[in-house]
């Protein structure tokens, strides 16, 4: 479930994150920016290497990126000058007042405040703020373009890579794992690029700029407010470290709770029928209490950051007021200086919190980047050799010569497999579930590389053919009926891009699918939904048969199993399959007696390897595994006696 949650992230700025921007001119005792994204952070394994590689993505957009940097620095500087000039206004007012006071004392004509000067100063400040705002706006726009394009590049790279990876890669990993790298991790990178990176720059510039401005006003006061700086830094980092641990603990309990809920809900009926509602409730309460305890700690610790920063900030504020006040009363500095100082010291808080937080964000981003790069570094399918060709008009002859194969080099499953199939023959592959029937099929289509021997189609080694060309000579109807979200028409035409409307309908008719398609609300334009739940399992199978028919391959790979299909549809599927097999070389993962008996050759598989081969009569005569299998499954004699 936590995956789900992460999925809901967007690559745009999050509304909650809009306060995380740059501090501008003057501000009161506003709280520092919201603290990061709260969750536990992971660390990259090799930070330096990943960072370096990460920056290669910037290279193509160097110019824009430099513009962003310059704009960020400029807009920050322009806004930093503001408070000092405002201070000058105040000083002018104060001086004016003092002058007025003095004049009043001496009964001279009242000189009034120099409003021309004040006006000019204020206009200058307005100008500076305006420029700063515009620059910062442009900078953010450019950065958003840069960030989104970089992320787009990454997504493209990953996607292209996925198409070049061998099936072996997919076997070893769950879909969820790959998905999360393509979506969540890249999302995470997008967010960092969009927000944190420029924030980091402006925060540093702000801190440095403020220190410089302060120094020009009063070195002593600067020293005082700088004293609060390391304290604030230290406090933030320390607390965020503790709170991360607490958040990790919370996440752990949450995971447990989700696990329990998921389990109880998905086994709802079982829990009920075994009357275990009470136990499940008790376990739930236990985890729930632990979760609440853990969340409370996490929230409390992270909730302390704000008041603490505020306090440190306030102490600095008071110190400036007091020391500044004393100095001003001795006429060492002006009143405007104090005002400027107060504003500057207030501006410290947010960038410090941000810089402290950015370390965590960067870490988790680099960890994400590393996971993405891991995909990009995976070993690819052996590329088609330069001389690889294709078959002009494939006949459909297949031969195996001493084929040796194992999913890993250390564990060889098949060795010395020899097989000769003539055009138009049907080969039945039989054996219990998990015997490796699909492995054989996978080898034919070169989804995996063999370790020894050779497989030839029409006398040509399949490694001397372009993969694409090889695979188009095969048609496939498997039990796992893959359809995509799209119209029925598009799904049938999937194997044959330029098929006409008529071709599609003809294929559907031959596959006995036309009837049910026309009964659907939008006929051939009915959109199959994501789970393909708007058509039945059997109907799906009919569609995959139509798809294979349309692509008209010389060799066919077929899985006869029709589980969870109702009887009538099953009859249709059988008929359609017979139709499809006509005039082709067929490899059938067979479940039906008639198919098996009529096959030219039967391959009997068990535990990953071929154990017997021959035609039906030969194999029965052998009285081995096949004979046993045949007797138990197809005659019903064995089962009937024992049935309850």
């Amino acid at each position: 479930m936590s995956d789900n949650n992460r999925n809901s992230g967007t690559s745009g700025p999050k509304p909650g994150g809009m306060m995380g921007g740059r501090p501008g001119g003057m501000m009161g005792g506003g709280p520092p920016g919201m603290m990061g994204r709260g969750g536990p952070k992971e660390k990259p394994k090799d930070m330096g290497k990943t960072l370096k590689r990460f920056f290669t993505y910037f290279r193509a957009r160097q110019i824009q990126f430099s513009i962003v940097m310059v704009l960020a620095v400029c807009s920050t500087i322009f806004s930093i000058v503001g408070p000092k000039l405002q201070g000058k206004v105040t000083t002018k007012l104060f001086d004016g007042l003092i002058g007025k006071y003095a004049a009043m004392m001496q009964k001279l004509p009242l000189p009034g405040i120099d409003f021309v000067y004040v006006q000019r100063l204020l206009l200058l400040i307005i100008g500076l703020y305006l420029i700063s705002a515009i620059l910062s706006y442009i900078q953010q726009i450019v950065m958003s373009d840069v960030a989104q394009k970089i992320v787009y590049d990454m997504r493209t790279d990953v996607n292209e890579k996925l198409h070049r990876l061998p099936l072996k890669y997919y076997d070893a990993r769950s879909h969820g794992e790959i998905m999360s790298r393509v979506t969540n991790d890249i999302d995470n990178i997008a967010n960092t690029l969009q927000q944190s990176l420029t924030q980091f720059i402006t925060s540093i510039v702000t801190i440095l700029g403020v220190i410089v401005m302060m120094l020009t006003i009063s070195p002593l006061l600067t020293l005082i407010s700088l004293l609060t700086l390391p304290t604030a830094m230290f406090a933030t980092m320390k607390i965020s470290k503790v709170s991360q641990g607490k958040f990790a603990a919370q996440q752990k309990e949450l995971g447990k709770l989700n696990g329990h809920i998921e389990e109880m809900y998905s086994g709802f009926g079982i829990v009920k029928v075994f009357c275990h509602e009470k136990d499940s409730l008790n376990t739930f309460s236990e985890i729930n209490t632990r979760l609440a305890e853990a969340s409370w700690r996490a929230q409390f610790i992270s909730g302390i950051v704000m008041p603490l920063m505020n306090f440190i900030n306030n102490v600095g504020y008071v110190l400036i007021c007091v020391v500044g006040g004393v100095l001003a009363s001795q006429k060492v500095i002006t009143l405007g200086d104090i005002q400027a100082f107060i504003q500057y010291s207030r501006q410290f808080t947010m960038p410090i919190a941000q810089v402290a937080n950015i370390v965590n964000v960067l870490q988790s981003t680099l960890a994400s980047a590393e996971r993405v790069f891991e995909i990009l570094d995976e070993e690819e399918e052996m590329p088609d050799s330069a001389t690889a060709g294709f078959l002009e008009s494939p006949r459909g002859e297949v031969s195996f010569h001493d084929v040796k194969f194992g999913y890993t080099d250390s564990k060889i499953l098949m060795d010395g497999i020899n097989l000769d199939v003539k055009k138009g023959q049907t080969i039945a592959i039989v054996g219990p579930t998990g015997a490796g029937k699909t492995t054989l099929v996978n080898l034919l289509m070169r989804f995996y590389e063999i370790q020894g021997g050779s497989i030839k189609v029409d006398g040509v080694d399949i490694r001397d053919l372009q993969r694409g060309a090889l695979r188009t000579t095969f048609g496939m109807v498997l039990q796992d009926t893959w359809l995509f979200k799209g119209t029925i028409h598009d799904n049938i035409a999937y194997g044959c891009e330029n098929a006409s409307e008529e071709d599609v309908i003809n294929a559907a008719k031959t596959a006995h699918a036309d009837h049910f398609i026309r009964a659907l609300p939008a006929g051939y334009n009915t959109v199959i939904n994501e789970e393909a739940s708007n058509i039945s399992q059997g109907e799906k199978q009919l569609l995959t048969i139509a798809r294979a028919l349309l692509s008209n391959p010389p060799i066919l790979i077929l899985d006869e199993a029709t589980s969870s299909v109702d009887t009538r549809t099953e009859v249709y599927i059988q008929k359609a399959m017979r139709e499809l097999m006509k005039g082709r070389t067929n490899f059938v993962i067979a479940h039906r007696l008639s198919t098996i008996r009529d096959s030219e050759k039967i391959i009997v598989m068990n535990k990953g390897s071929i154990i017997e081969m021959g035609n039906h009569t030969e194999l029965i005569a052998q009285n081995g595994f096949y004979a046993d299998l045949y007797n138990s499954q197809f005659t019903g004699s064995f089962t009937e006696e024992e049935v309850i």
């Binding site: 501090p23 001119g25 705002a133 696990g259 305890e293 505020n310 004393v326 893959w482 009887t567």
Partner: protein, 576 residues
């Protein structure tokens, strides 16, 4: 959202305490500029150093007090929010436990999981943030306004103008931004869809050599997302710079008009400086409040989903005066004209079903997918109540028994085997809490599970991971059968529970079962005619109705639907 807040009732006192504490915290923060203005007006102007020092000390005390209040507020509010969340989760979970499958199906498992956990988290976080910021914002705004007016009422109009300007600006950006965010979410879903399809269909894609096409499809979705993200980000890029600009302009306006007022003697510098700071505090509190307005609608959706669950009443309740069947009767089932439809369905799933089964008898149910087989058997443990008709177990209408009494008589093995996290032995013991090791071993043996269990590294103590992913489908089924066997119920219901077994294990299991449960009543759903053909009674279901009932021979002679099924599965010589 507001409806859920009723669950805050037990936290009345802490909530009140938070309010008080936050009030003092805000007052402290607001008091600081006043003290500062005192330093300026009295201290600096008069050169009164002791006064400056004294006021400084006061300020530190105020700052300490305000920070203590803030920490207290955080302590209390996190306690309240998390307690609230805990309470809410437990209410939902308890509620769901009482649901019958009828209500349960209306939501579905994934949706209920989200509602019980993520949605509660969302609401809980808002409760948390509200206490931290929502309470502080109005207090700061009102308090700041009062103090600002005290300092210089002549400048108050500037704040009155600035607040709506700022509010409108944020409002417009947010209003424009939200539809865009939703659009982006859709585009992300689209990319996820394409990636997922590419992963699940990798073999088909490669077999049809459609890699380039799929790449293009992904690229289109990805490009689309990029364009939308850029649009949104450009819009939001405006937010920060211009918000700051509005604030800065407010400051400058105050300085300009303030200086004129000072010049004409209507105000003084210290007051103006304090006023400036109050203006900022007020604007910031509005900013915070606007962030809340963005968070609340998001939580609202979660709150609605939670309320939906809490407002659903469980339709299945135990009778007030439960009847217990005659102990002499064990395993009698009778359906009398039972009709049942699923929630929202146009047609009944099963219609007018009548049959009876008694101990020592096996009743098989066969029929195509969607004919209502599973529906029929799920009425026996009262997962649902029928629309009309009666179901009697041991002579008593099951509505008049307690659910526990009824279900303790039934051993149910579902189509899709469900195991729980824990060990093998715990999973089997699930059927009977006080089962001895010998009983468990025996059940496992009958279910043909003993061999593979003992072959596992830790035998019966081997762990089962969530969803039973570390055992094969066939092994799961055998364990789930063992779980029902250990219960030794009077009635067994097998819902196509042998489907993942290879034929050898299947027949061994059937043979072992035959001996084991000879005296019990057995209801079995089958797919293959060969496995059910010598049951005592076969019910043929077709589109929810009984198309035929009787033995294999009778049905083959009289029932066309049955004949069709047989013809599709058995070869000529087998039928004969």
């Amino acid at each position: 959202m507001l409806k859920l807040l009723r669950f805050l009732k037990p936290f009345r006192i802490p909530v009140a305490a938070v309010m008080v504490v936050v009030f003092f915290q805000c007052m402290g923060d607001l008091y600081l500029p006043t003290l500062m203005s005192n330093i300026v007006n009295k201290g600096i102007t008069n050169g009164d150093v002791p006064y400056i020092l004294f006021t400084g000390a006061m300020m530190i005390l105020v700052a300490i007090g305000s920070s203590i209040c803030a920490v207290l507020a955080s302590y209390l509010s996190s306690h309240i929010a998390m307690g609230f969340g805990e309470d809410l989760r437990s209410r939902i979970f308890t509620k769901v436990s009482r649901f019958s499958l009828h209500e349960f199906d209306r939501f579905g498992t994934p949706s209920l999981v989200t509602r019980s956990s993520n949605d509660v988290m969302q609401v809980q976080n808002v409760v948390m943030m509200t206490q931290r910021m929502m309470i502080a914002a109005p207090i700061t705004a009102v308090g700041g306004m009062i103090l600002a007016l005290q300092k210089d009422s002549g400048l108050a109009w500037i704040i009155i103008v600035a607040v709506p300007v700022l509010g409108t600006f944020i409002g417009v950006v947010a209003a424009k931004g939200f539809p865009l965010f939703q659009a982006i979410q859709k585009k992300i879903d689209r990319i996820n869809l394409v990636v997922r399809e590419n992963l699940t269909g990798i073999r088909v894609i490669r077999a049809f050599n459609r890699g380039e096409y799929e790449k293009k499809r992904f690229d289109e979705a990805s490009y689309d997302l990029m364009v939308s993200s850029v649009t949104v980000n450009r819009l939001f890029a405006m937010l920060m710079p211009f918000m700051m600009l509005i604030m800065n302009l407010t400051v400058i306006t105050i300085l300009w008009f303030g200086s004129h007022r000072i010049n004409s003697g209507l105000s003084n510098i210290g007051n103006m400086m304090a006023f400036l700071q109050y203006a900022m505090q007020i604007l910031f509190s509005f900013l915070m409040a606007s962030v809340m307005f963005i968070m609340v609608p998001r939580a609202q959706a979660s709150a609605d989903r939670i309320n939906e669950v809490l407002d659903t009443e469980a339709t299945l309740v135990d009778p007030e005066n439960p009847v217990s069947p005659d102990p002499a009767l064990k395993g009698y089932i009778e359906f009398r004209n039972v009709t049942f439809s699923y929630f929202g369905a146009e047609q009944p799933a099963i219609e007018n079903i009548s049959f009876s089964a008694k101990p020592g008898e096996t009743t098989a149910i066969i029929g195509s997918t969607g004919s209502g087989k599973t529906t029929l058997v799920s009425l026996i443990p009262r997962f649902y109540d029928p629309d009309s008709g009666q179901i009697l177990v041991d002579g008593v209408d099951i509505k008049n028994m307690t659910q526990n009494d009824l279900r303790s008589r039934i051993g149910y093995v579902p189509q899709k085997a469900v195991l729980f996290t824990g060990s093998v032995i715990e999973n089997i013991r699930y059927g009977k809490d006080d089962a001895t090791v010998a009983e468990i071993r025996h059940a496992a043996e009958t279910a043909q599970a003993l061999d593979f269990v003992t072959a596992m590294e830790q035998g019966f103590d081997s762990p089962i991971s969530q969803g039973g992913t570390n055992v094969s489908g066939g092994q799961k089924q055998r364990l789930s059968i063992a779980r029902a066997l250990v219960k030794k119920p009077e009635i067994y219901v097998f819902d196509d529970s042998f489907s993942a077994l290879d034929f050898k294990t299947d027949s061994l299991l059937r043979a072992a079962l035959k001996k084991e449960i000879a005296d019990a009543t057995v209801i079995i759903i089958g797919q293959r005619v060969a496995t059910i053909m010598d049951s005592d009674n076969i019910i043929v279901l077709d589109e929810g109705k009984i198309a035929g009932m009787g033995t294999h021979q009778e049905l083959y002679a009289n029932c066309p639907v049955y004949r069709e099924i047989v013809a599709s599965q058995l070869s000529e010589e087998e039928i004969a």
